[in-house]
């Protein structure tokens, strides 16, 4: 625990020093190295706990009577802590390179340690009040980082949407914790645990509140609207951090809720699965039609959060049936995917950051052919794309495999409603799998392959090493987990078991299967190596010529005639037009795909409310007489009520 406290203090100190110091260098130094040091300090106990050395006790501090601030770490917290600290280290190293010359970002970077610290504190919080405070501090810190470039209108809008989404969601969490408090008389989690089981209606209500509150942060449909705005607006390392770990704190919240409100019911899992499937399907569809690379990645995060949620929903249904095998597969798949998504989404956002940094545009249709000038970035983007599509060899496959396995098992063991959901889950996942190929072949293909579509950016060079190495580490880890998935199975199983006492299954079958997969992957790599050698040997003596791409008889093709992002997406977007609702911007001759939840629900809701209010405002006549009459009428009404009350 001391290490973790020290780590939190380090973050705080880093932020304060960075805020107070003058000049760019010390500011960068304090904020980035502070995070590195703090994260390393925190990583140690987290890893220790995950290797099975029990949980850490609680620390208490009470500033206000009745509201204690308690910290503690169990396996679930440690699992998230490890992800948070690990990614933070790499991102802060990346930031050192990224920050050079970004004056405005540097002056906002003291919020970076605050954000990391708040995330850590959120997962360490052991009482509702501290949780809420950390939760909002986390939102605020990330808000300020998102809206660094607030000179631009879009960024302001994005920041605002993010702020209101997260704060309104917190209202649900406030109610959640207060209802929990009402039941147990204390905000401490352990007291809440002592009062289990809750009445089914209360537990159900709590669960729904938690899903709304945490789902918003996680980016679950239809509460995801802030996400596609915030990610493009934020600087790339921040997008990576937010997408990689911050939105996972929402998932943490849902998992923590499951431990707090007791034995789950079947419909909880159903709710999660339905929301998850909606997120998957719509997330991947929207991702596919995006022109902006970071918006694409943001929607892809929505999809992946959907996958995680489906897995948790499956786990919950497994618990409710009860079917420990499915429950284990569901929860393990979710946790595994959380790690995996942190890895490959980290790579994707950071390498997208490299691209944006060098090419100064996020529009994919203005890019192309960047693999040659930026080989490292490109290669890693490829690795991450393959991983996020869930191909074997890469880490993404393992988690998707676990989740599929659970869903298939559900198709076998479940009945009625749950069976239907399990099957629908497979379909949704398959749909996402097929479209993920589309999305990431588009992203990688349009940005890194072919010719550059914009002549202005032909003089692109690779970014400095400090911006390559963190991505490289992430990429190696992504491959490593794909090769030897067993290596993090232990911690995951430990975490799953800490979620619920009912997990008594031996998971050796899974370990065996993972070992088989590992061997197959090795075989594929070996086979590929052999084939490459053969190919090399064949071509060694033969004439190999370089020429232009065959133009099918057309003489003067220009790079701008290549298939671009929009044309690539055309067949599918035509097919799904009813869901996508493209809005034609006649001024720019472009199509913009509005978000279903945003355009059809939130924007009209806000507009209607505003209009209603403006009607009400019109009643204000601003005459003294009217004001007095209003007062008088109020008085008379109250007196009449009193007379009625009195009788």
């Amino acid at each position: 625990m001391n290490f973790l406290i020290a780590s939190l203090i380090t973050f705080l100190a880093a932020s304060v020093f960075s805020l107070l110091s003058r000049g760019e260098k010390p500011k960068i130094l304090f904020s980035c190295f502070g995070v590195v040091v703090g994260s390393l300090l925190g990583l140690l106990p987290a890893v220790q706990i995950l290797s099975g050395e029990g949980s850490l006790g609680e620390m208490w501090f009470s500033g206000i009577p009745g509201l204690t601030l308690a910290l503690g770490v169990d396996a679930l917290s440690a699992f998230f802590l490890a992800a948070i600290f690990f990614l933070s280290i790499l991102i802060s190293i990346y930031s050192i390179g990224y920050l050079k010359g970004e004056t405005r970002l540097i002056s906002s970077y003291p919020f970076f340690p605050v954000l990391v610290g708040a995330m850590a504190a959120v997962v360490m919080a052991r009482d509702g009040f501290l949780f809420l405070i950390c939760w909002e501090v986390m939102s605020l810190a990330s808000y300020f980082l998102v809206s660094v470039e607030h000179d631009s209108r879009e960024v302001r809008y994005a920041g605002w949407i993010y702020l209101i989404a997260t704060h309104l969601a917190t209202a649900f969490l406030m109610v959640f914790f207060i209802l929990l408090w009402k039941n147990s008389g204390s905000f401490l989690f352990e007291d809440a645990l002592r009062r289990l089981p809750l009445s089914p209606s209360l537990a159900g209500m709590l669960f729904v509140f938690a899903v709304i509150g945490f789902g918003t942060k996680a980016g679950l449909f239809p509460f995801h609207v802030w996400l596609p705005h915030a990610h493009p607006a934020a600087p790339s390392p921040i997008s990576a951090l937010m997408s990689g770990v911050m939105i996972k704190t929402g998932i943490y919240g849902i998992l923590r809720t499951l431990t707090l409100v007791g034995g789950p019911e079947l419909w909880w899992g159903g709710l999660l699965m339905i929301l998850g499937m909606l997120s998957i399907v719509l997330g991947i569809l929207y991702a596919f039609v995006q022109e902006d690379i970071k918006r694409l990645l943001a929607y892809s995060s929505v999809e992946n959060i959907g996958i995680i949620t489906v897995a948790i929903g499956l786990g919950v249904m497994g618990l409710a049936w009860p079917n420990p095998w499915i429950a284990t597969l569901g929860f393990a798949g979710a946790l595994f995917h959380i790690w995996n998504h942190a890895l490959f989404k980290g790579i994707l956002f950071l390498s997208a950051g490299n691209v944006v940094r060098t090419a100064h545009t996020r529009q994919m249709s203005l890019l192309g052919g960047l693999l040659k000038p930026m080989p490292v970035t490109g290669a890693l983007f490829f690795v991450a794309s393959a991983a996020i599509c869930g191909f074997p060899l890469f880490n993404g496959f393992i988690s998707e495999w676990l989740i599929y396995l659970g869903l298939f098992q559900g198709g076998q063991d479940f009945n009625h409603f749950s069976l239907f959901l399990a099957v629908a889950g497979v379909v949704a996942l398959a749909f996402a799998g097929g479209l993920a190929i589309a999305v990431f072949s588009k992203a990688f293909g349009v940005i890194f392959l072919g010719n550059c579509r914009n002549r202005d950016i032909t003089k692109i060079t690779e970014v400095p090493a400090s911006m390559q190495i963190p991505i490289l580490i992430l990429g190696l880890l992504s491959l490593g987990i794909g090769f030897v998935p067993q290596m993090i199975w232990g911690p995951i199983l430990l975490t799953v078991q800490s979620l619920h006492t009912g997990f008594a299954i031996e998971a050796t079958t899974i370990v065996d299967s993972l070992a088989t997969i590992s061997r197959i992957v090795a075989g594929i790599v070996g086979g590929a190596a052999v084939l490459f050698l053969i190919r090399y040997w064949i071509l060694r003596k033969k004439p190999v010529r370089l020429s232009v791409t065959w133009d099918c008889g057309y003489i003067h093709p220009t790079p701008r005639m290549q298939y671009g992002a929009a044309s690539f997406a055309e067949p599918i977007s035509t097919f799904f037009k009813p869901l996508l609702k493209p809005i034609l911007h006649s001024k720019h001759f472009t199509e913009y795909y509005g978000d279903l939840a945003e355009e059809r629900f939130f924007v009209p809701l806000f507009k209607k409310t505003t209009r209603f209010f403006s009607l009400l405002r019109r009643l204000q006549k601003s005459q003294t007489q009217d004001y007095l009459a209003l007062m008088f009428v109020t008085l008379i009404l109250l007196l009449l009520w009193e007379v009625w009350f009195g009788i």
Partner: protein
């Protein structure tokens, strides 16, 4: 003795200042203001040390509730006095159409401020209903010239409305006092709250209820509860910013104290349900009205004024659902935060020469210090942790749910949400954006920054930590209202 001293010293200084007129004596007047503020603040502080009697005679005495309000007033007054030095210095310097003032009433600023302080002290230091009423009426009269400070048409209109509506309100409150007195007629009570509480069992509930309604409407007008709040946005937006800060931070509290005193009686007479329902109702209506008018608001001082309506609604709601501790804490939170915001708004008015939200952009880049403090204040006022309004609003929510007022709490949250959405849009619209080069950029008046920095630090600290004595003290005050933590 100190109590008497707290009432009379400002008054005497005020009378003395009346004779120091003329533009050239401006500095002298400000110094006297500072002197009065410091003496009062010192006196208030000394009350916290044991050995100082909190009772002068039957009429002038301080219970915990009074001490709470007195301390807030004294502190805010002290801070505003410091701020005034810089503010009026700057406001005077570049003579423009908006900010410029005519000679004549300006010399009334200091005496009226001091009279206001005196009246406020009287209000907090008595449990006698009649004297309380006198104190509150006196605050109205003392602040009217302050609102009229700028002497232009709008100021005149605001002052007229303020004076007339509040006077009518206070007349109703007087009627309410009579009704409460009538409730105890024949049972040998005098007009002290304590004696009513003592004899609560034999009070006529009918008269008590009518009396409470009248008091609620009457003092509610002064406090700014909707739908009697109508004067408030006008007065707050037209008054000079230090005055707005005091109006919002201190004056509204005085009326709230008036209502609390009557609630004390109702509570003792087992009418807590009745009074609570009314307070809850007014709280929710105020929240709703504030939400309606904050949305798409074009004048940021009016927005802050409506936010005061909102927070008065929260206070009323808090007492109504039985969250005594939370409400009293919210009194502190709101006073500090709103004072901070109005003081900064003054800074912004001076720099941008406009009160329109659409014309203020890029505050964070143009005036970094003001911008940062305004961000803190803005986030605090919309209920973001880790600032103290969040804590108090959270406590109210918690107690509300605990007492089973789920529906009221749901509306509370919805209205807070709407206000948050509207207000954050306006606030961040002002804060963010490109840097503006303005002709009147004069941020570095340290005197004007002392108070905001102090206030920001205080609301931050109280967001997650309340000193133990403060908790004890708030609890003893909340016990009078039946809602200790």
């Amino acid at each position: 003795m100190i109590l008497l001293f707290l009432i009379t010293i400002p008054a005497l200084l005020g009378v003395a200042t009346l004779f120091i007129s003329g533009e050239e004596k401006r500095k002298t007047r400000r110094r006297i203001l500072m002197l009065g503020a410091s003496l009062h603040f010192a006196g208030t502080l000394s009350l916290y040390f044991s050995g100082v009697s909190r009772k002068w005679n039957d009429y002038i005495l301080l219970d915990p509730l009074g001490l709470l309000f007195l301390s807030i007033t004294s502190l805010l007054f002290f801070l505003v006095a410091i701020y005034s030095f810089g503010y009026f210095y700057k406001e005077h310097k570049p003579p423009t159409k908006e900010g410029g003032t005519k000679e004549g009433v300006r010399h009334l600023y200091t005496p009226c401020m001091l009279f206001f302080l005196s009246a406020m002290s009287l209000t907090t230091m008595t449990t006698h209903l009649g004297l309380l009423w006198v104190g509150i009426e006196a605050t109205t009269l003392a602040t009217a010239p302050l609102i009229y400070y700028h002497h232009h048409e709008q100021a005149l209109e605001a002052t007229w409305k303020y004076l007339l509506i509040c006077s009518v309100g206070i007349a109703l409150a007087l009627l309410g006092v009579f009704f409460i007195a009538a409730a105890g007629k024949g049972s040998g009570v005098d007009l002290f709250v304590e004696s009513f509480v003592e004899k609560a069992a034999i009070l006529n509930p009918r008269w008590l209820r009518i009396g409470f309604i009248l008091i609620l409407v009457g003092f509610g007008t002064k406090m700014g509860l909707a739908p009697m709040h109508t004067w408030l946005p006008d007065a707050h937006s037209e008054a000079p910013s230090p005055v707005s800060a005091l109006l919002s931070g201190a004056l509204l509290n005085a009326a709230f104290l008036g209502i609390l005193r009557c609630y004390q009686i109702c509570f003792a007479a087992h009418l807590a349900d009745f009074a609570g329902t009314l307070l809850t109702l007014f709280g929710l209506v105020s929240l709703f009205v504030a939400a309606v008018f904050i949305t798409a608001q074009r004048d940021y001082k009016r927005m802050l004024a409506y936010s005061s309506v909102e927070h008065m609604g929260i206070l009323s709601l808090g007492i109504g659902v039985g969250a005594g501790f939370g409400s009293l804490l919210h009194v502190i939170s709101h006073s500090l935060t709103k004072c901070l915001l109005f003081l900064l708004a003054g800074q912004i008015v001076l720099t941008y020469r406009t009160k329109k939200t659409t014309e203020v952009h890029g505050l964070l880049r143009t005036l970094p210090m003001t911008g940062i403090l305004f961000t803190i204040g803005g986030l605090a006022i919309v209920g973001f942790p880790p600032f103290s309004p969040f804590l108090s609003e959270f406590l109210i929510l918690k107690e509300g749910f605990a007492a089973g007022h789920s529906v009221a709490m749901a509306f509370y949250l919805i209205f807070l949400g709407i206000i948050f959405v509207s207000m954050s849009q306006i606030l961040f619209g002002m804060l963010q954006g490109e840097k503006r080069e303005l002709p009147h950029k004069m941020e570095r008046t340290y005197l004007m920054m002392v108070a905001p920095v102090f206030l920001a630090a205080a609301i931050f600290l109280f967001g997650f930590y309340l000193p133990a004595p403060m908790v004890v003290f708030l609890n003893s005050a909340a016990k009078l209202l039946g809602g200790p933590l």
